[in-house]
């Protein structure tokens, strides 16, 4: 067999210039396009300051109310600082106890197991969960009198650990329209004083009997519910 070698062919000048032109055009096209995968730049967070006062249990309650009303990062930080964080052996650690009916209802609805115990680590997402219930409304948190026959509040002047009993209500207020209650219930709170600073180390949550475990208005939930809901964030 007499194989005839295939001659090596080089692209002509015209071909090369055409290829170059196509490359330049492609580069210009790519350069002219906006990046379809570039996310938008978010606005910087609301830097509204929340005055943090820890001089008495009442001041702690006022700080918690302002922190929950503020959707800012400072509000989330202030809210978290209201709870005892045990960093030294011997410190009291924050624990929250669910309302039994709410816990059972949440477990039945979500088919998940409520974590026990609920500590400061789980509390971290609660503020953002509550902030997201009506993300565009204004919030107002109110502490009310516990009218369910609970004992009187302890006197903080007599002890470094006291127990308070309160009713809480969180109102979501739209710019126009009717305000809504989005959190309601009763709580027995234990405070501790350490180095002159008061903090909450027990939150025993109770459902408002007038609202019930399964409220007609589906968002009128206890803090037990919203705490558990924060697990799904």
């Amino acid at each position: 067999m007499n194989w005839k070698p295939i001659p090596r062919r080089h692209p002509s000048r015209a071909t090369r210039s055409r290829a170059g032109g196509v490359l330049v055009l492609l580069a210009l096209l790519v350069g002219a396009c906006t990046n379809p995968f570039k996310p938008a730049d978010p606005e910087p967070p609301d830097s509204t300051q929340v005055p943090e006062k820890w001089g008495s249990p009442e001041e702690v309650l006022e700080t918690v109310a302002l922190a929950l009303a503020s959707r800012s990062t400072n509000g989330a930080t202030a809210y978290l600082r209201a709870f005892a964080d045990s960093t030294v052996p011997g410190d009291k650690a924050y624990r929250s106890f669910y309302d039994g009916g709410v816990k059972a209802s949440w477990q039945a609805v979500t088919a998940q197991t409520a974590p026990e115990p609920w500590d400061i680590q789980q509390e971290r997402n609660v503020h953002s969960t509550i902030s997201a219930i009506r993300s565009t409304y204004n919030y107002a948190w109110a502490w009310g009198r516990d009218d369910t026959g609970s004992p009187l509040d302890d006197d903080p002047a007599l002890s470094d650990t006291v127990v308070y009993h309160r009713k809480y209500t969180l109102l979501a207020v739209p710019d126009v329209g009717t305000p809504e209650i989005i959190a309601i219930g009763y709580v027995d709170m234990a405070f501790q004083k350490k180095d002159g600073r008061w903090s909450i180390y027990r939150w025993v949550d109770r459902v408002d009997p007038a609202v019930g475990v399964n409220p007609a208005a589906t968002d009128q939930r206890t803090m037990s519910w919203w705490r558990l809901e924060s697990l799904t964030l």
Partner: protein, 708 residues
């Protein structure tokens, strides 16, 4: 001093050069190298069917391997037979089974033979709190040009919750008699009777419904030419419906048909459609006011394929539907509910062969429902290019979606404009016969921009972006038939971005790193060990709230041992060890980070399954399983247990596949399950007493079928 940077650059160039060339003296990589990472469990034989070359065939048919496998199993058709039938019938593979089932019950397909058949099926499923009993019968009688077909199905559910037993019974029956006047015309009548009853002790009102439709029927089919055929069916009759919300009596009608047009090798078009509705007098059960209502539903669906076997082909799908339903209201007025939708998509395929193609697609759609409306427009490109041992797959898609939501409760009506982009690429290359590598990457961005349609109102959702990118490199080494191993490394970034200042404190950037190593080794004939080890770390950063940064780690090891001791006795043993520490992540001034442990979960599972099959009619299996899980947290600044759990599950069961006489079959599973669980929670490091929870119950399912 040598210049390390220059040395490194040279090494990278040499490495790339080695990667780019085919190693001399070695065989070309097998065609199936691209499927080296596929799910090989799909290849397991079942029901006498084999799935050799499943991935390659599915790839050439442009369908998912599991879809092709499901078609084969559902209709008990070997792959070669399924492909031949699809070719001879001139339709896609996934339409073959449906067409066979439809023709089986067609009144035109019975001929003039006299024959009768009867099939009875009964099934009983029992679980811990539920039981389901089904009974069904199908009767077919052909005598000359007359045919009678009847199908009945009754399902009874019982479920127990909170000491209360809820019951639900559903029944439906279809009976149709046909007289074939000519090979293409059949007339007759049919009765559609259905109903259900629901009883719940916790409910004040228990629901029930009865519905009957008696109709005259006309079925026709036309064969205009060898390449064009059609069917047209018409039904008209009376309707009687009674349920908890309405009582409806009147006339009902249904017209449906299909048209198939084929022109040589260049066109295939299938069109189906129908209109059904009713004219009725309707009232609420508690009212005496009769209202005139009419319901109407129309649908049209088509698929056109152009130049299917050519290098350039096209495929167009379209569907339209519209329905009107009228119901009585509490005020004895008529409430009309309208829904509609239209979708169309088209694909242009440029194909040299299965390894070199480009598909360009576009789709559009609009739909209106009770909650609002939605419009979509999308584009997609998909390409594959195989050159030598390299195989490159890439795709890109873009979807623009605009939705409008009606006012619901306090949430105002609003519009949500969305834009989704995604792209992915995958590069595969074998090195010789033993090593296959794959490099893949993905990037996607989903944007949502809601705005209120009402003045001075804010929409219930937040403007936001979701971004994700990931890279994965993996390799498989197959030393021989007995040993193979693979490693993978994946890096991903997921960003959740809320745009308004009120929500940005919750924005997160999650960086995930995942490493995986797996191996499988056949220790001896009938004994195989395999193990998968993974390590995952998720760093969750809050760009605007760094004090909430966290790190979760996940170490997981799964070890399996499969032993076929005798052809009738197999043992599977599986052990899973998993450890998941979690805590705050603090970035230090020097840029490094430190984990502040908050809690840690440790889980161990030991599971086995022993199967003994003394005969094809009976197999027995035992599955003991033991789970231990411990969780620790930080109490008073020190690590302390917060929860421990121990659980034992034990299931023993029998699989039955027994012929009953010559025409009956009894199949199913009957077993008993025992579980024992003790969970202890700790308060301040002290255990809280908790009872031992034990459950012991029968479960299983049995089906009996008998055919005359």
């Amino acid at each position: 001093m040598p210049d390390h940077r220059r040395l490194l650059a040279s090494l990278v160039l040499v490495g790339l050069g080695l990667l780019a060339c085919v190693p001399s003296g070695r065989a070309q990589a097998p065609v199936s190298a691209r499927f080296a990472f596929a799910d090989t469990s799909l290849l397991r034989d079942t029901l006498g069917l084999k799935f050799d070359r499943l991935f390659e065939t599915a790839d050439s048919l442009r369908m998912l391997p599991d879809s092709l496998r499901a078609q084969m199993i559902r209709y008990r058709l070997p792959m070669s037979r399924l492909l031949v039938m699809a070719d001879s019938m001139g339709m896609p593979v996934d339409s073959v089974g449906v067409t066979i089932a439809r023709e089986r019950f067609s009144s035109f397909a019975t001929g003039d033979l006299t024959k009768a058949s009867f099939r009875y099926t009964s099934g009983y499923n029992i679980g811990k709190t539920t039981s389901v009993w089904t009974n069904g019968g199908d009767f077919t009688l052909n005598r000359g040009k007359m045919s009678l077909r009847s199908g009945t199905n009754i399902v009874m559910d019982r479920s127990t919750a909170g000491g209360r037993v809820s019951q639900r019974k559903t029944r439906e029956s279809t009976t149709e008699a046909n007289w074939r006047r000519s090979p293409n015309l059949s007339v007759g009548g049919r009765a559609l009777i259905s109903g259900y009853d629901s009883f719940d002790p916790a409910s004040i009102t228990n629901e029930g419904e009865t519905k009957s439709e008696l109709q005259l029927s006309t079925r026709t089919r036309q064969q205009m030419s060898r390449q064009m055929s059609s069917e047209l069916n018409m039904f008209a009759g009376t309707l009687n419906l009674k349920n908890v919300s309405q009582v409806k009596q009147g006339f009902t009608g249904d017209v449906n048909g299909r048209l198939r047009v084929a022109r040589g090798q260049w066109l295939s078009h299938d069109l189906t459609g129908g209109v059904n509705g009713n004219l009725a007098r309707t009232r609420r059960p508690s009212s005496s006011v009769n209202l005139g209502t009419h319901d109407l539903a129309a649908r049209l669906q088509g698929t056109a394929q152009l130049f299917q076997a050519s290098a350039v082909s096209a495929n167009i799908n379209y569907a339209a539907r519209r329905s009107t339903v009228e119901t009585p209201t509490e005020a004895d007025t008529v409430n009309r509910l309208l829904t509609s939708g239209f979708t169309v998509d088209g694909t242009l395929r440029l194909r040299l062969d299965n390894d070199r193609f480009l598909n360009l697609s576009t789709n559009a759609g609009t739909s209106t429902t009770l909650n609002g409306s939605r419009d979509d427009v999308g584009y997609k490109a998909q390409a594959r290019w195989v050159r030598g041992v390299w195989a490159l797959d890439a795709d890109y898609s873009h979807l623009i979606r605009n939705s409008e939501f009606l006012r619901r409760g306090n949430a105002p009506a609003y519009r949500d404009d969305g834009d989704d982009n995604s792209a992915s690429g995958q590069l595969t290359r074998p090195f010789g016969r033993r090593v296959t590598t794959k490099l893949s990457g993905n990037i996607s961005l989903s944007q949502s921009r809601p705005r209120s349609l009402e003045a001075d109102q804010t929409p219930p959702t937040t403007p936001r972006d979701s971004y994700r990118q990931s890279y994965r490199a993996e390799g498989i080494y197959t030393a021989n038939e007995r040993l193979n191993t693979g490693v993978a490394l994946e890096v991903a970034l997921t960003r959740s971005i809320n745009l308004p200042a009120s929500s940005t404190s919750n924005n997160t950037d999650t960086r995930s790193y995942r490493g995986e190593w797996r191996w499988s080794y056949r220790l001896m004939r009938g004994l195989t060990a395999s193990q998968t080890n993974t390590i995952v770390s998720d760093y969750q950063f809050y760009p605007f709230a760094p004090e909430r940064n966290s790190l979760s780690l996940d170490y997981n090891a799964v070890t399996n041992l499969n032993a076929v001791l005798t052809p009738r006795l197999t043992v599977e043993l599986s052990h899973n060890a998993r450890q998941q520490p979690f805590g705050d992540w603090r970035v230090l001034d020097d840029g490094s980070g430190v984990l502040l442990p908050a809690n840690e979960s440790t889980n161990y599972t030991l599971r086995s399954r022993v199967t003994w099959s003394p005969s094809p009619a009976l197999s027995l299996f035992l599955t003991p399983e033991y789970q231990a899980s411990d969780r620790t947290g930080t109490v008073n600044g020190e690590e302390a247990p917060t929860r421990t759990s121990r659980r034992l599950n034990f299931t023993g069961a029998a699989n039955i596949n027994v012929p009953v006489g010559k025409r009956g079959d009894l199949t199913g599973t009957v077993g008993r399950t025992f579980t024992s669980d003790r969970t202890t929670t700790y308060s301040q490091g002290l255990p809280q007493a908790s009872p031992l929870a034990e459950q012991d119950f029968w479960n299983g399912s049995l089906q009996f079928s008998w055919e005359l």
